[in-house]
Amino acid sequence: MQITVAFVCGFIFGWGLLISAMVQPAKVIGFLDIFGVWDPSLAVVMVAALAVSAGGFRYAKLRQRPILASRSIWPTRTEIDGPLVIGATLFGVGWGLVGLCPGPAIENLATLSPRVTAFVLAMAFGMVLHGLWASRRRGRVQRQIVTVLTADG
């Protein structure tokens, strides 16, 4: 049942990117290009998504537990550290170069574009690389309780 819910949520999410046209790299670049013919649409997408999820999350927090799972996994970290800043910067560079972030990149696999497929494979490889690097680093700082896996999203 939880698998069906995850599938439906992915589907709704995909339709959101589709209707807002954020699935198109050109539309995203139009927002990022503030010195060109600026297209503020992405900001409207963010505000609408935030308005709905802020209310929704507030309600989800009020409930003791989620409807199907035994507990909710809320991110707990609060510190602003080097990995957060460097990671966000690296992501920003990659996002600006092509106009694809993970959601639209995966959704665009449906177009069977070889270039998008290459991008997604490189992205997955980058994630695996990070996993290997992080676990080596964890090995080095053994016995220190490092919960690198506790991510935000």
């Binding site: 992915g10 999410f13 920003g92 980058g126």
Partner: protein, 141 residues
């Protein structure tokens, strides 16, 4: 602002917010796509099937979209394969190092008023704007 599409942007954004809400309310999970893809690639987690199901729904959306007249256009991608591969690597490694992407930090995290997410979102937005400014206007080909 010739290409501004506020109505479709608001509807699409609301759907993204709805998907994030439902996933948290029902499954207790964050709708951060980079985190979901990473858990799909991680053989140690138990969430792999659920993560794969989310991604399958994400890919199916434009296919059904095409059936009802919401066809997904062929994405405009750079001609350089090297640029595509480097960008993909940066997005993959960067989102894991920073703990989230546009959905996990930008939508879910900011909606929770998470300090980390607000900082991360400001950084990747400003960096991407800078990269586009430099690549389109300084080195405009």
């Amino acid at each position: 602002m010739a290409n501004f599409t506020p109505v479709s942007a608001a509807i699409g954004g609301a759907l993204i917010g709805l998907a994030a809400t439902l996933l948290m309310l029902i499954n207790g999970r964050m709708a951060g796509v980079s985190g979901i893809l990473a858990s799909c690639l991680d053989f140690r987690t138990k969430d792999r099937i659920g993560s794969a199901a989310f991604l399958a729904g994400l890919i199916l959306a434009p296919i059904t979209g095409g059936v009802v007249g919401f066809a997904i256009p062929t994405p405009e991608m750079p001609s350089s394969w090297a640029l595509i591969l480097i960008s993909g690597l940066l997005v993959g490694f960067g989102t894991r190092l920073g703990g989230g992407c546009t959905s996990g930090h930008g939508v879910c995290g900011v909606a929770r008023l998470s300090r980390r997410s607000i900082v991360a979102t400001s950084i990747f937005m400003m960096t991407a704007i800078l990269v586009v400014a430099v690549s389109r206007h300084v080195f405009a080909g």
